[in-house]
Subunit: 190 residues, 2 copies
Amino acid sequence: MNCLEERILKDGVVKEGNVLKVDSFLNHQMDVELMNEIGKEFYRRFQHKPINKILTIEASGIAIAYAVAQQFHVPLLFAKKSKSINIAGDTYVAEVESFTHKNRNTVVVSKQFLNENDRVLIIDDFLANGAAINGLISIVEEAGAVLVGAGVCIEKGWQPGGDHLRGKGVKLVSLAVCDRIENGKIICRD
Amino acid sequence: MNCLEERILKDGVVKEGNVLKVDSFLNHQMDVELMNEIGKEFYRRFQHKPINKILTIEASGIAIAYAVAQQFHVPLLFAKKSKSINIAGDTYVAEVESFTHKNRNTVVVSKQFLNENDRVLIIDDFLANGAAINGLISIVEEAGAVLVGAGVCIEKGWQPGGDHLRGKGVKLVSLAVCDRIENGKIICRD
């Protein structure tokens, strides 16, 4: 069991409707020491691949992507939520449906910072239906960059995002796969 | 001249309407090595004060706050933009007007993570009219926590936020104060 799985079992909270809350250490208040361990673990899992950019999506992905980027000594790039419908031609655009917030966001990345010379590792905190990561993948593809892989902290094993990405051939590393919640207890996959 | 000022002069871009863009290294693509230097500099300036929490606001403040939090070895907490009008009673709420986006956001912090035992350093990327930092200060006050100070990467010297905060007695550290833009060139305060 890695440090993140241990922490989920210790401090993760199950709310009504089997919602897993990790906002005491991962996505509202953040335990920076834990994040740094997470950054090292992603580095260990992807270090044999040439990676020159970490891509994430605002907001809670940014801290984890930072922890990873400082291990690889490469820049961090985050897709910004955009409110304007009229996006200038100098950005890549993706539509991302938020599972948590039940809404759709347009996210953008400036074309200036991503192109066919880039080898990209996508990082995010949660993987549920995979909307955020699929949106980021479409941006990587539009840029003509190489997708090296994707790393997420917590995959919700009962939702299809992880299996869908693996089925597409994406090298996906999920540090903790939570398979189900039984009687208010979180069960992680071995 | 510190490393941030040097970088602004080297890579900052002045756009139409005298808008300073630093999105190649600070708030879209992020140079993590520079951020780590920024984190160390804020640590140097605030290390003599007892600080047990770094508070920022999503999205671009998160990476800088991370760099600072890992120097202090304390948790990072970020105020979340909230779309729902009906906020439950378990959050502190502030209204923040965005200078960049010309809109108002409701931001929230869970009461669980901020209380009268906390000694807080507020961190953000930009200080213009001070709306974001004033929103965060109101949250710190509502929590009964102690505001130790505020650190920003870039203060726009021609906007009133910085002077207003100093006038209120806030210990404010701005790593770079850009005083004006002359013929498309950025002039930083000594």
